[in-house]
Amino acid sequence: MPWTTEQVLALAPDASSAKSGKELAAPRKWVTLGANEICAWGTVQGSGRNPYQTSVDLAGPAFKCSCPSRKFPCKHGLALFLIFAQQPGAMTETSPPAWTTEWLSKRAEKEEKKNARAAAPEAPPDPEAAAKAAAAAEKRTASREAKISSGMDELAVWMEDLVRSGFATLPGKPSTFWENPAARLVDAQAPGLARRVGALDGITTFGDEWPARLLREVSLLHLAQEGWSQIHSLPEKTQADLRTTIGFTMNQQDVLAQPPVRDRWIIVGQRIAEEDRLRTQRTWLFGTETRRAALCLSFSTGPNQPLDISLIAGTTVDAELVYFPSAWPLRALIKQRYGNAESQIPQLPHRTIAQASAFAAEALAANPWIERVPFALSGVTPIGRAQGWIVRDADGYALPLRVPEAKAWMLNAVAGGKPVAAAGEWDGEEFTPLSVWAEGRFLRL
C-alpha cells in the first residue's frame, strides 16, 4: 500500500514541521533505517548526545520518538515516514529493534484494555448514589434549559427588531451590533446559536445577494427559537438536531453505545477551520457499500493539543462508525478500525451534479439547520468563467466554486480541461473542493 508525499505531509501539525520533516527526509541524514509490514523505524543524530529513536506504526499511523519536541508528530517521525513513502529501498533493516517492538506491544496492550473496558459489563451501581447523581444532573439540565429559554426570548426580540426596521439600515453597523447578541447567547449557554449570530457580522458586504442570505439565516434562527418553545412536540430526531444547533454536546460514551455501521469508508476530504483560538478539523467520509456520508470532527485549542491524524484524505479505511442521533445522521465517531488504510483510487458516489444536489436536498429536508454536506463527484471539469470558477458535469449542470484563486489554478492545471474526480463541501450556494483525483493520483487542495 503506497503512501504519497502529500498524505504524509498532511499529518504535520503545522507548516514549519512539514518543512523540517522534508529537510530531514534524506536517508544519508539517518544512522539506521528499517521497515517491515507493520512499522518503520530509524535512528537520527539530533542535538542531543544519543541519536533519537523514531518509530512509525503503519496501522494508525502512529508516531513515537525519543526527541524532546512537543510537536506531534515531530519532524523525525514525519521524515522517517517520508523516506518510507518515497524511497522504500533505503529502509535496509528488516527486524525491528527492541524500542520499537516494546512501543508496539504497549500500544496493542492499551488497545486491548480499551476493548475489554468497552466489553465489560458495568459494575452494579449503588442505587442511592445513582439517584443522587441523577437528581443533580436533572437540576443542572433544568437550570441550563431555563437559561436557554431566556436567551431565546432575547434573540426573538432582536430578530423582530431587525425585520421591523428593515435590513437596509444594517450596512455600516459596527461589529458590536452582531457581537452583543452573540455574547448574550454564550451567556445563555447556547454556543451553537451564538456562533451563527456572530457569523452574520460582515454579511452586508457579500455582494447584491446579502439581504437574501441574511433573511435565510435569520429565518433558520427563528425556526430554532420557535422549535425550542415547543421542543417536546417535535420528533425525537429533530429534537436532537435542534439541541445540536443550539450547542448542546453529547457524551461520547452515549454516542458509542449506539449501533455501529461497518463499511469501507473513503476519506474524501479534510479541512481545518480556525476561529479565534479553536481549530476544528472536518474529515468527510463516504461508505462504499452503504453510500452514506459521515463527518468526523477533531478540535484543538492550542499547539499542545494536536488534531486527530488517524484519518488521511485520499485513503480508504475499513471501520465501524457510530453516528450521532439526527434526522439525517452525518456527524460520527470511529468506533473500531480493521486493518490498514488503503490508498487506491476510489469510485466516488456522485456521478452527476443532479445526483449530488438531490443528496443535499434530502439532507436539508430532514435537518433544516444542516450547514454543509459533502459532495464527491466522480467526473467534473473545472472551468474559469467570467463570473467565476465552476465545475461542470457531462449533463451540462454546473456548481459555482468557493476557492482561493491559487487553488483554482492548481485544480485547473491538474484537470487540463478534462473531467476529474473532485470532492469537497457544499454549503447550499457554493462548492469548496478539498480533494481531486486525476491521472491516477490524489491531490489535496
Binding site: A156, R164, F167, R385, G396
Partner: protein, 111 residues
C-alpha cells in the same frame, strides 16, 4: 408569496410594509395561509424559513451552456521525481528564491 418578495419586505422593514394576504392552492401556499399576518415580524420570518427551505430543496443546479474548454494534449513528458517535486515546491514557496531560475533552466535542459 415568493422568497424574493419576502426579502424585499425584510429590506424595507415591516414597519413600513404590511404583509399581503396569503391565499392559493399549492401545498406551500396553504401552509403559508396558516400563518397569522397580524404578527408581521414573526410571520415574515416563519414564511421565509418555509419558502427559503422550499426553494433550496426544490431548486435545480444551474446549467452552463458556454462552450467547454479545449482539453490539453496528453502529458508526454516524464514527470519529475518526488524529490525534485518537493524541491521545486520549496523553491516556489520562496525559499532560496535566487536559485529558482537556475533550477528551472537545468530542468528544462534535461527535459
Amino acid at each position: 408569496m415568493k422568497f424574493s418578495e419576502m426579502t424585499q419586505i425584510a429590506l424595507l422593514g415591516t414597519e413600513r410594509q404590511s404583509l399581503p394576504g396569503m391565499k392559493g392552492t399549492t401545498a406551500l401556499e396553504q401552509l403559508q395561509a396558516q400563518l397569522d399576518v397580524n404578527q408581521r415580524e414573526r410571520t415574515l420570518l416563519s414564511l421565509a424559513a418555509l419558502s427559503g427551505l422550499h426553494e433550496r430543496i426544490g431548486g435545480l443546479p444551474v446549467r452552463d451552456t458556454a462552450p467547454l474548454p479545449v482539453p490539453c494534449g496528453e502529458e508526454k513528458k516524464p514527470r519529475i521525481n518526488t524529490r525534485a517535486a518537493s524541491l521545486i515546491l520549496r523553491l516556489l514557496s520562496g525559499e532560496f528564491e535566487d536559485l529558482l531560475p537556475e533550477f528551472l533552466k537545468l530542468t528544462a535542459r534535461v527535459g
